[in-house]
């Protein structure tokens, strides 16, 4: 408990110090609970997610960093490895390939990498996975782009 708190505090300070280091990631800690974080990540360029800003929710277990944080998308996203309803993410480093050397920041980077390189063979979103597996890249991209526009882009007023 104490160890996880201390470690998260270190990460917090690191995030504050290197705020401009990675303009694609904006990690924010909950005001009252250091075990709850949110992140805003920019959709990687040359993907259907380009131009979108996606919100992630982190729930950090007390045994962190021995156990991985629970991360999910709060913003709707059409991606083979993200559950369309719950936002749950299928990513090995968040499950069995977790290592304490990962940080919240590097997890965000891994998620951005996953957005750019979907793994259609382990889909949480079957529709999305099937489009890619059947070779309908265009169909997948237009669906993904549509949801990016609908959910991840600020509404023009």
């Amino acid at each position: 408990m104490q160890a996880s708190r201390a470690r998260l505090f270190k990460e917090y300070k690191e995030v504050q110090r290197e705020k401009s280091a990675d303009p694609d990631i904006q990690l924010v800690c909950d005001d009252s609970n250091i075990f709850k974080w949110t992140a805003l990540i920019k959709g990687p360029s040359e993907t259907p997610y380009e131009g979108g800003v996606f919100q992630l929710a982190f729930a950090i277990p007390e045994q962190y960093p021995l156990l991985p944080p629970q991360v999910r998308f709060l913003t709707k996203i059409f991606h083979p490895n993200v559950h369309f309803k719950t936002g749950e993410i299928c990513l090995d480093i968040l499950k069995n390939a977790w290592s304490p050397a990962w940080t919240l920041q590097s997890v965000c980077r891994a998620i951005i990498a996953l957005m750019a390189h979907p793994e259609p063979d382990s889909p949480l979103n079957c529709d999305s996975g099937n489009l890619l597996r059947s070779g309908d890249v265009r169909g997948f991209q237009s669906m993904a782009r549509m949801y990016t526009r609908l959910a991840a882009m600020p509404k023009k007023t």
Binding site: A3, E14, P65, P100
Partner: protein, 180 residues
Amino acid sequence: MEPLPKKQWGKVINSAAFCYYKFDLLRPINLEECTDAIKDLEYNHDVLRNIPLEDLSSWWLKHLVIYRLKYPLAIRKAYRLLDGFTKPAEAESEKKSIHRLLDGFTKPAEADLEKPSTDESEKCAVCLDKLEETGRNQTRLVCNHIYHEDCIFKWVSNHKTCPLCRVVAVRDCAIISPQI
């Protein structure tokens, strides 16, 4: 060399098991630590029974007990263990190689082991604290990555791999809980 009393055998095996456990984590250990561990392990014989005896063999004895502990007592322990666990002929050759090692042994191996690595950052990847933080033991894994001892022990007790490079840092039979 005087033989070790039979009564001490439990302790020898305990300390050997403990050394073995620590060995894969490649760090120098001292006698105090070892005796503390022996005290703890004395109440935990079930754990020791799960360690195959053939694994408590010459390899770690040479490298750990002698190279690390460098106590005359340890050599005695090593001899006793060799007599007990290996065939006589093998034991003889092991004893010779132990002596060869001792002859070539001038500087303590600890000096090399304690040197902080320059390639990796000086932070412990588990707690993100500085490694040199006062009063905390460090552990160097087989892959040369260094962590705080308490940090990495919490991790390897369930995972066996180095957090930074995923090298298998601990062997199956070495996973015991010294309950320290």
